[in-house]
Amino acid sequence: MFRKILLTSIAVIACLSIVVGCAPQAAPAAAPAATTAPAAAPAKKTYTIAIIHQQEGNPYFAVEQPGVEDAAKELGDTVIFKGPASMDVNAQVELVDSLIAQKVDAIGLDALDPDALVPVAQKAMKAGIKVFSWDSSLAPAGRLVHFDAASPEDVGRTEVQMMAKMINYEGQIAILSAGSTNLNSNLWNKWSEEELKDPKYSKMTLVKTVYGDDDYQKGYNLTQALLKEFPNLKGIIGPTTVGIATASKYIKDAGLVGKVFTSGLGLPSEMKEYIKLGICKEMALWSPIDQGYGTVYIAHGLLTGEITPKAGETLNAGRLGKLPVVDTGSGNLVIYQGKPMIFDQSNIDKWAAIF
């Protein structure tokens, strides 16, 4: 039996050494992607850019894809647009790892957790890859810049403002949020709570915040639970397209139209029915297509050196115009896509056809 172990280990080591021995020559010769130059490379190159979202299959990210592809075509770059199978932080880390192995030029990350992805992001940066975050931010230590659709303060405050109008500034409300460690939704919620401190909302109370993990069924059940625990609940804010859609559906199914309202960030195509029914009178979002579009331009800008990034610089972002790099304090560099768009009965049909 010892003989067997010995022979097997020799075989394994032999295999591994053949593999490892072949390694160094193979990689540089056959690599199709242009290698990143450390400083600005003015010559026109085709960059390989990876845009990582949060979840494969989620309609929000699916809708972004045309924007990403448009930008790639305009810039002449290759884009890999993917995400983990579920909102699993470890899976996202593994994804970034495999991109480092593929030696991409830039990675744009919609971080499922602002801290857990920092080690792998730093590993990528050490390997010469430009790393930035979008939608949900990485801690500043892990990225060069963050691309936000709109300022968290704008989003959070607007959500409360919309909800307040619907329920006449009076009543109990709850928040059905996304993943519990999702930085962007948590930031929005923080600003929503800030907005609620204003005296004009004194008759409104936020009773609970629940986390639906962007899962329709979980959100549906959580909405049901909320309405059972707080029978007088008047409104649910969903700072996630899945949350607002599934909460609205429950309200419709339970026959509570006109008694409970929803607002938040919704995809027009999903929310059209509920806006028409009056469950949600107003909701906000931005163009996910443009968001996808913008990420590729930012990646390209980082790679060509157009932005270092430094506060005060401007990025030429194709059809999005010129976007400035802003320092929101203590070195946190952000680029904003714009302000939230409001959707209501008047424009829902038009936008539902687009996204």
Partner: protein
């Protein structure tokens, strides 16, 4: 350990009672729970709330029947959640591309898909002789991956599903949502099936003593194959119902359905230690009990983070109690014989 010489101690009588009337024990437990919860909150004991509970457990009760017959024959099926998701996705994609498909056809499509998936499980267990735990663990992944393949990576959302289909499960007939009626019909059908049909008896026989059943002329492989296929038909149908109720077909749909079904079965008396034990009433009571627990958790406002631990405790307690009773029974029987 001292063996009691008295023939009918209270303990022994209690054990016999428990073993024979497990359902009563569950009912008593359920009533106590209802009492406790309704003292805690007044939104519990309402018609509205109980309607919601029934609606919530409808889908679980349907797949739990399938799980029950599989477990009675000594197997287990972990793939029901993934199979449900796959069926929901296939029906969803079909409805998205052909919105005027009649509802009944869509449901039959779901059942058909489920039958194929269940048959695959059955084939793996009976023909390839792969142990059920491994076969269904494999299909748990395999079916889940197929969901992605079928969907092309994109979920089916509510606005892509025709209204007729979305509404049919919640359609009230005589005030009761259609889905609940379907679940009740299914339960009754299984009750009759298990108790009064020959095939139902054969399932118990195969579970109780496979060798004896085979010697008695029962085609054991066929019986076992059919249990998986029937389970498949059930979770296939459940997939269509799920799509209608929640209006979503996604990759992570119904991730822990198997846990819920197994919990219902185990609480309801389906024995994992010996085959051939378990009945419809017990399983439905188990599903109901768990539905109440879930509902109560929401009402009282216990953190959702306690749910999973509760499943674990429920399974463990139910299984331990079950096995302990079985063993004591055996011991009592051998004691009696020796006298």
């Amino acid at each position: 350990m001292k063996i009691s010489t008295a023939k009918n101690t209270l303990g022994q009588r209690l054990i016999t009672l428990l073993a024979n009337f497990r359902e009563i024990v569950i009912i008593v437990f359920t009533l106590v729970l209802i009492l406790v919860v309704s003292l805690r909150t007044d939104t519990f004991l309402t018609v509205r709330n109980f309607q919601d509970i029934l609606l919530d457990i409808s889908i679980v009760s349907i797949v739990a029947m399938g799980e029950m017959i599989v477990m009675i024959t000594g197997g287990i099926d972990i793939s029901i959640g993934s199979g449900l998701a796959l069926s929901a996705m296939i029906v969803g994609v079909t409805l998205k591309n052909h919105p005027d498909t009649p509802v009944i056809l869509a449901v039959f499509l779901g059942i058909g898909v489920g039958i194929i998936l269940g048959a695959f499980n059955g084939f793996a267990v009976t023909m390839m002789k792969v142990p059920p735990i491994i076969a269904t663990l494999g299909t748990y992944s395999f079916f889940r991956g197929l969901v992605f393949l079928v969907s092309g990576g994109v979920w089916i959302a509510a606005h892509q599903i025709p209204d007729a289909f979305k509404n049919f499960t919640l359609q009230p007939i005589a005030g009761i949502p259609f889905l609940v009626i379907l679940a009740v019909i299914n339960t009754l059908a299984f009750f009759v099936f298990m108790k009064y049909t020959r095939f139902g008896r054969q399932i118990y026989a195969v579970g109780g003593n496979e060798v004896a059943a085979k010697l008695a002329g029962i085609r054991t492989n066929f019986v076992k194959f059919m249990t998986y296929t029937i389970s498949g038909a059930l979770f296939g149908a459940a997939g269509a119902f799920w799509l209608s109720r929640y209006s979503i077909a996604a990759n992570n749909t119904a991730g822990d359905m198997h846990l819920q079904a197994i919990t219902a079965c185990v609480i309801g008396g389906v024995s994992v230690a010996v085959g051939g034990v378990g009945n419809v009433v017990g399983v439905i009571l188990g599903a109901f009990l768990f539905g109440i627990i879930n509902n109560a958790i929401n009402l009282i406002g216990i953190s959702e983070f306690w749910k999973e631990a509760l499943y674990g405790v429920a399974i463990l307690v139910a299984v331990i109690v079950d096995v302990t009773i079985t063993q004591r029974l055996q011991k009592m029987k051998t004691e009696r014989k020796g006298e």
